[in-house]
Symmetry: D2
Amino acid sequence: MKKGILERLDAGEVVIGDGGYVIALERRGYVKAGHWTPEAAVEHPDAVKQIHREFLRAGADVIQTFTFYSSDDKLKLSGNVTDITAKQINEAACDIAREVANEGGALVAGGVSQTPVYRDSSSESEVKAIFKKQLDVFVKKNVDFLIVEYFEHVAEAEWAVQVLKTTGKPVAATLCISPEGDIDMVSPGDCAVRLVKAGAQIVGINCHLDPLTCVRTVKLMKEGLERARLKAHLMVQPLGFHTPECNHKGYLSLPEFPFALETRAMTRWDMQRYAREAYNVGIRYIGGCCGFEPYHIRALSEELAQERGFLPPASAQHEMWGKGLEMHTKPWVRARARREYWENLLLASGRPKCPSMATPQD
Amino acid sequence: MKKGILERLDAGEVVIGDGGYVIALERRGYVKAGHWTPEAAVEHPDAVKQIHREFLRAGADVIQTFTFYSSDDKLKLSGNVTDITAKQINEAACDIAREVANEGGALVAGGVSQTPVYRDSSSESEVKAIFKKQLDVFVKKNVDFLIVEYFEHVAEAEWAVQVLKTTGKPVAATLCISPEGDIDMVSPGDCAVRLVKAGAQIVGINCHLDPLTCVRTVKLMKEGLERARLKAHLMVQPLGFHTPECNHKGYLSLPEFPFALETRAMTRWDMQRYAREAYNVGIRYIGGCCGFEPYHIRALSEELAQERGFLPPASAQHEMWGKGLEMHTKPWVRARARREYWENLLLASGRPKCPSMATPQD
Amino acid sequence: MKKGILERLDAGEVVIGDGGYVIALERRGYVKAGHWTPEAAVEHPDAVKQIHREFLRAGADVIQTFTFYSSDDKLKLSGNVTDITAKQINEAACDIAREVANEGGALVAGGVSQTPVYRDSSSESEVKAIFKKQLDVFVKKNVDFLIVEYFEHVAEAEWAVQVLKTTGKPVAATLCISPEGDIDMVSPGDCAVRLVKAGAQIVGINCHLDPLTCVRTVKLMKEGLERARLKAHLMVQPLGFHTPECNHKGYLSLPEFPFALETRAMTRWDMQRYAREAYNVGIRYIGGCCGFEPYHIRALSEELAQERGFLPPASAQHEMWGKGLEMHTKPWVRARARREYWENLLLASGRPKCPSMATPQD
Amino acid sequence: MKKGILERLDAGEVVIGDGGYVIALERRGYVKAGHWTPEAAVEHPDAVKQIHREFLRAGADVIQTFTFYSSDDKLKLSGNVTDITAKQINEAACDIAREVANEGGALVAGGVSQTPVYRDSSSESEVKAIFKKQLDVFVKKNVDFLIVEYFEHVAEAEWAVQVLKTTGKPVAATLCISPEGDIDMVSPGDCAVRLVKAGAQIVGINCHLDPLTCVRTVKLMKEGLERARLKAHLMVQPLGFHTPECNHKGYLSLPEFPFALETRAMTRWDMQRYAREAYNVGIRYIGGCCGFEPYHIRALSEELAQERGFLPPASAQHEMWGKGLEMHTKPWVRARARREYWENLLLASGRPKCPSMATPQD
């Protein structure tokens, strides 16, 4: 019997999350950018299973179901499938996630995200009904816990937490906001307090901004909880891209989104630094979102191997800090088999006509 | 019955190659960098099958067997496996490639690369014996054609061509050299002439340098053949990275190799430009090497869709030139749903402390 | 009879300041970097006169005496001169400034800066005695007004204002602080209030940071004064360098200071933007500090020519927005003779191995 | 009696040239960009004298007369003056140059540049008549030697050398060409041979490209002369700007020309490297052109102080390799008082939205 998410966190364990699916599967040929719907769970289950498995091998303790934007209205709008329902996709996604999770000791998490309805009508009953419908599948398929993620308005996230709490399953809630606060300018500290009061046991940040910025926002949430004398576990699942010039609207404003983000991709060394910073701030659920590939998750697992007590399976194919280069035939490549080299490298872009920063558009 | 590689090229068809395996599978967690041995063909066949399948869906007409560095001496040196022989790996790799190739109309190609023995002893008989041993598996498994690839010395590549020709199967030969010539300063034109005289029906360039540089080198090969009144098909399988500052020693000299190449990754738009340039030069076998992900191969297929007469399966999840963004909710993202936008974008690196070019080390 | 500085500002006129002397004269060969003492006023008066004259021709309404770091202790420490006293230098500098100022309608301003004594002992009487000694020369030479400039501690600047006020001459006070506040974390708004209460009629910012940052800080000062229902004229004399990564310690922390600041130099177009921003914020005394060359001051005069009602003499050798290129023989250079071209140009550094931002050292 | 230019070079001395005038005086407010005519020699003689003097103090052994574009047709075209003739300007310029040169031991050089007539008609007699007219002033004013400079066609430069040789004065000839050759694709080696055969005793390169590129071209000239068994002194007076992306058309093609070249300006440390490279190639007349400020010339003098046996006057205000920072109050600034620091610094541009390289326009 696996330990649950709260048991792990209560025991002080570091929980590694998985990476994002839509960007990675877009590049593999299974998701359409702009639409981002997950019909591949039904149409190409092997491809979804494979990437789940790669995250698992990289050390992920949680497999999130591949159910992003999987509601019938979204599917209809995108026009990508006509013969498959959201329910079919969601059920298939739960089954796939469970199959892979059971290959290791991972937990399955089902997630809900912000709704177009909230922005249009702000009707509490309508919004809650949507979450309830998604929840039904997660309950039927018995996921291990639930994640409220990718919310720009803390008010809507509170409603989601309230709905998901009814199941009795643990609920984590992550907003996609910046250190300045949510889109209504509620501060990160206040957001955290409201989410915990709504019933979330785990709170934090996901998507929209780069790792160190997201860690900074979670730190502000933590301070808010401390001021309010509340307790909750902390979680972070940031972008795998550098976004230094982004404002609170996040990386959708970058001119490179979504088809030219290559140069912004983080290295494994960037990821180790992120994992350490997150750990030092007190975050114990550390994962990734859009832009995270399996080797990024492995880097988190490796940075925190001592704290966790073990290396992930995929580290059999990776030595820390480039040590695998020691046997290289070129002496100048061998010279790179050390930590200081990779930690201090200021990598060149190879694009002399391109700048370092863009002007966000919005 | 599939048409062979020469039938296709003779008929004027554009043949799309697959992408590189070792870098992509390193990031997925199945190959150890620095060692680059392909034991995953035996240990994780599903992972190898999956990436083959992604290239196939992206439009690849050729699946290369995942047999890079698969010789017993290399395996022993790396120490990654003790209970599997090179023969086992090579046979498994052939079977996997065949299985996936048959899911579409793709051909299977077996490849041989330069040997350490050549550099150490330059013994013709020893070097040829190594090629012969690798060839035995390809013959047994009945690959469709053979590729001599990743040679820095045209002299050694000639020997490889001579050995492979004995099978009667078509032979392609690609060197990893720059427009300046091979490592012994034999010009690209002379290299091409020698390879064709040795028996290659297809000649060109692979790896080491970025696409436009490799296309330039193939153009020099073509001109050499014309001067010598020889005929051969042209092929190119370059890096998927920008390497503007690299000299003829290639990207191993870059300080970022192999663990910090992220910023240099080409976009799909870079790839379309490459495909067009290659086509314009007269190259008809157009593929990729290290750094190519499935969506890069798809970009080649899409750029040349009109010439080929069809789009690849994975284009069901991709609209040309960002058109899939037309339905995006944010107006500034919708404004990106057009060709001029992506063709002219000078993407920012998001790394203000990093330069554009490195100083090659060697 | 010239109008005084307060008459001009009270009448709503835009007053253009001059540029910095020590960096410019270092490059011309008359000031030693690191020491920055002004013995050239005695040793090479023609060189000093010439640069004063260039600023005057560029539109400067104020000529500041070249007396920076001109105290006997500083001169002794530097060892640059043994036979000249600070008094001799200061008197010569006043005479030179007056001679050039009278060639146009400019005013002469004498300035005092922060003292090492303040940092070491914080003795009010000692610090004030130093300001008094400097003041004696300015009174004897009858400068038109006085400037308290380059103070990191508002507390010390208050003392300087108090001393200078005793002369009855107008007193301007500019701190070299950031939007975060002075070095003791007194906010810009509070700094402004304290300086005005101490007797300054003009307050603002000089040196240490780039123009737009300094304008931002002056805006905060203005808001502080408004909150306190105080009135004063606003002034800004920023660096002529881009310093986006600098913290409140300013450009001395940049690795490039002082011998490799070339790439950070602002263009004339940057300067026009700065002049406009400063004007829009309500600043009416707009000049420059280190890094300003004569053509930078001319750019300020040109941007505000309509508000001022005239162009400066040096504009006889300059047409706005590159219009002088209209007669160029090369068509592609002629195409640059327009405002949109220069306003939107993202100029390249010509240094592909150099980054965009440094890491401040301190 | 001063030693002549050939005596100095024959004796193996290093001759330091002066810097460019038009860009420097444009920034000081005395030259109009695009027009570049030198009426300031009559209208503002003190300003011209001052910059001559600064170059002299920086170590220049030659003062070039400020007579660029000073012909009646150019003056008329520009419309900058109506009451002054080219003859008046040229005579005034000679007098000013002589006055300053005599303050030190410097020589006065008069120069002629390429003519619009050559491009339009290629009439030898017309072109030669123009050179003859300019020469008359130089003879009357008895300059020490003559410089044929800024020619893109070696054919026209030959004519100029032939005309200037008639005076019996030494003649130097520098082309503004790239390592690829002149604009008619005559190689640098062949150009040098033709210039020497026409009568030039000194040959080399000036303007258009950055120092290391110009040194490379002079090296090719030297090799051409050696192959032809001819002897001549070598000279180089490059741009003071980095132009890595420029082709043979030079920096006029850069989008930043002429009003946004700031970021490309070379540092004093760049200049020392240039002086050393030029010296190592065998060049003994080493100066500058557009973009050189007095401190750049001083850097050449300092780098070659040991070879020359003395430091220039302006080095009294400058210590080698930043040593003047040793007495700085901030420890992190003091740490910069050493050669390795400045030699290895990769200076940041402070412009995160700007690229490293532009696309030349022409």
